[in-house]
Amino acid sequence: MNSFDIVILLSMVVAGAAPVVLAAIGETITEKAGVINLSLDGGILLSAMVAFAVASTTGSIFAGFAAAALAGAAVSIVVAFFSVYLGQSQVAVGFVLALMTRDLAYFIGSPFSRIQGPQAPHLPLPFLKDIPFIGDVLFNHNVTVYLGLFSIFVVWMFIYKTRPGLKLRAVGEEPRAALVRGFDPRKIQLLCSAAGGIFTGLAGASFSLAVKAGWGQPQGCEGTGWIALALVIFGGWNPVKAAAGAYFFSLLQVLGIQFQGWFPGIPAQVFQVAPFPLMIFTLIIINLPKNEAISAWAEDRPVLKKLLSKLSGDAPTSLGKPYKPDIY
């Protein structure tokens, strides 16, 4: 891309963001119910392998996506089971699984290394693709992009506008109150983790069947899971804001590739890691409103105050603290 074309740029951003959007939305569901699934990074890789292995064995893209969704759900069910039912640290179990599922993926997946496999077809949406500008940016992609866009809407609706979504939020905030209202917080946390895991799986499949098609070591999606986890915080546990963060991150990556062309003296690896320190800065900014001195300073400045309150988002109260029924 020599000439700087905004439509191409944005459509690259949208295409590259699809897996990150899916992963961040899935993790939002899980965390909203009070469970942190730190295994995301390995889970994405494992499901990417499963998707590629199943799709190239059966020849069906759909089977690949379905198998990956199952694999993703299986990993997050392990995390939820160990933390919610066995009372072990979520961070510990999640971190171990992040490393272990990565190695599992490379171990089991090695026969599928560097072979040709099926790829999700390019699928421009009829009519929608003809809308000027937006059509090319949003609706001229493969299925993973639409899956991501669709999920943002559906998950937002689910969490904020439905009864099960209300239950989910109640469990994340006040599990004991939820129990009094007659539903089992642990069961809901397990279900929400599984649901989040399905998205993790779809994110993995999006990588190996579309965005970075193929399987091998390294696959190229390492690090995505950690970014998605940070995006959930960035998005203040709101799926729409988390997805917006994913598009922002994708923009950084695409710009990184751009800059590489402009500064050929700097090795490519430097641009690949550039988004990560930016992520830290973002997290610092997100945490600014929690700093008393800064919020006091912003008190007399209405514009700033409004901006800070927009940026901040509160974590679900019982996040990371599994509910133990035997206390009561």
């Binding site: 730190l38 490393l99 090695s110 690090g223 690896q269 320190p277």
Partner: protein
């Protein structure tokens, strides 16, 4: 007596669970399970040279584990340990690159070791500082710092520190021989790194178990609220724990450069930092047990290297076994807690 028997029983169950899981995975992959285990054993303890390689891996893993014991004690997740090793290695190399032909090699080595410790400690300090001052979760700060360290080392190796003519993944130019740690021909490892690691284990164990500061760390990890009421300055201790952890990781980086590779390579940390996190978890945060678990993990890592050559299966099996061990440990711990709970009722 009974308690001891119970502990042994639980350890055996942990190992059995891990082996069962791993065996299923191997069989699913289509490889013969027994043969695989035999190859890992042969590849790690089968010869003197292999044992030397195991100890070579054990040194950085144990040093990182020692550092992590402090941060775990106070309840911090120092995932940044990987980057701290890298920064230690970079800092040491930076000292060696200073043009001081007249300087005494011993002096240079000492300066490089110090620089490595400081390099690792500074990297850890950033995560700790962000946690205390900005409320940035130490897991994300540490992880971000890992990626930054990785970017930095790649930039140095491909950029300013590249070998004349060729910049490649094989690393910077070799250090002059006088900056190599003395070598024991018998095991092909440096007695100095070995002695340094043993000293680190003893220091850590004594500090954590027998000193007041060690007790305070534990108190803060167990109950931050109560510790706060006793007027223990939690922030200061958090930073202290981070500095110690980073310092040990940095020292591991120094040993990797001067004792193993004799140059700066992109994979200088070899994921030993991440593995050390697992080591400490399996050893249930005990400074005396961690070195043994680290030795076993080192055996797995070194032993698995020959799997691709001999049996055409991927060496990442080592990581699967290690992960299975941690999960089994957690499961058995939960079972233990459940049993205690039932007895009480």
């Amino acid at each position: 007596m009974n308690e001891k028997a119970e502990k042994i029983k639980e350890s055996l169950i942990t190992i059995a669970l891990a082996i069962a899981f791993t065996t299923i995975v191997i069989i699913l992959s289509g490889a013969p399970a027994l043969e695989t285990y035999i190859q890992i054993f042969k590849g790690s303890l089968g010869s003197k040279a292999k044992l030397g390689q195991v100890i070579q891996a054990w040194i950085p893993m144990t040093l990182c584990a020692c550092g992590l014991l402090y941060t775990f004690r106070i309840g911090l997740w120092n995932i940044g340990v990987e980057g701290q090793v890298v920064m230690g290695a970079i800092a040491a190399t930076a000292v060696f690159r200073l043009d001081m032909t007249a300087a005494n090699p011993l002096l240079m080595m000492t300066a490089a070791a110090l620089a490595a410790v400081i390099g690792g400690a500074v990297w850890a300090f950033v995560s700790g500082y962000l946690k205390i001052k900005s409320g940035v979760n130490e897991i994300f700060a540490g992880l971000g710092m890992n990626f930054v360290a990785q970017g930095l080392i790649l930039w140095l190796i491909f950029g300013p520190w590249k070998r004349p003519g060729i910049a490649s993944m094989s690393g910077t130019e070799m250090l002059p021989q006088e900056f190599w740690l003395p070598f024991s021909a018998f095991f092909r490892i440096s007695p100095i790194s070995l002695a340094g690691t043993v000293a680190a284990i003893i220091f850590t164990a004594v500090f954590l178990i027998y000193t007041r500061a060690g007790l305070k760390l534990k108190a803060m990890g167990c109950n931050p609220g109560a510790a706060h009421m006793y007027r223990i300055n939690i922030s200061a201790y958090m930073l202290l724990a981070m500095l110690l952890a980073g310092g040990f990781a940095g020292l591991a980086g120094f040993f990797q450069v001067t004792g193993v590779y004799h140059s700066l390579i992109p994979t200088i940390s070899s994921r030993y930092g991440y593995l050390a996190l697992l080591v400490v978890m399996v050893s249930n945060f005990s400074p005396w047990v961690s070195p043994f678990v680290a030795f076993f993990f080192a055996c797995l890592n070194v032993g698995a290297i020959q799997l691709p050559m001999v049996m055409k299966i991927d060496s990442s099996l080592a990581g699967v076994i290690q992960g299975a061990l941690v999960l089994s440990t957690l499961a058995v711990q939960a079972w233990h807690a459940w049993k205690l709970n039932k007895e009480k009722v």
